[in-house]
Symmetry: C2
Subunit: 121 residues, 2 copies
């Protein structure tokens, strides 16, 4: 294990975003800027085997199946998740390349810098 001391700030705060990049990032952010969709994304990503049946997701919320389906569709349209129908149910999984675009914009620096140190523990 290693402790990583990070310096301020996220890439988004280190150089001006272009209009195009800002527009693309805003589409992803709008898709996740909802408590139900954030919880759905976290439940799908952390589910055993890396995918979750829509039946499990719907049972976890006090919401109707059509409402859950709407939120899943928003996440899927943004490219954050994908799904396959197998038998009765659709199984959803995270698309890490797309989720990681959010991480790339907001992650603190990970490369070493004068005020960053990697410390073996």
């Amino acid at each position: 294990m290693a402790a990583v001391t990070i310096q301020c700030c996220a890439p988004i705060a280190r150089e001006p975003l272009s209009e195009t990049d800002a527009a693309e990032l805003a589409v992803l952010l709008k898709a996740v800027a909802d408590p139900v969709r954030l919880r759905l994304l976290s439940m799908i990503g952390s589910h055993a085997g890396g995918e979750a049946c829509v039946c499990d997701l719907t049972d976890a919320f006090d919401l109707t199946a059509p409402t859950i389906s709407h939120h899943l569709k928003v996440l899927r349209t943004a490219g954050l998740i994908d799904g396959d129908r197998r038998g009765t149910w659709v199984y959803y999984r995270i698309i890490p390349e797309v989720v990681n675009k959010l991480g790339a914009a907001f992650a603190p620096l990970t490369e070493p810098a004068p005020n960053l140190e990697l410390t073996p523990v």
Copy 2:
């Protein structure tokens, strides 16, 4: 310098978010889920000295001053930026602790794991 090989996925995709955490994170995400606000945030964070005069920000957009002020207020209300009036103008700066909450949710793993290695360069 060190190369960091990261594994999939973001923390948000590794364990289910609580309702409370999801609600708090959604407030921050809604504040940044707009192309103009993303560009404002990146311009403030990357400005010389770590702060930007509202006069510089307004000049960079083909938008009215009240529209820019509205977007700055949304960012400020969410706690992502703060501002001080000095003379005629307000000067804005990033609040890194709050911006980094977004990074913490979406950043890929940084701690070592079986498929992660830290390589001195």
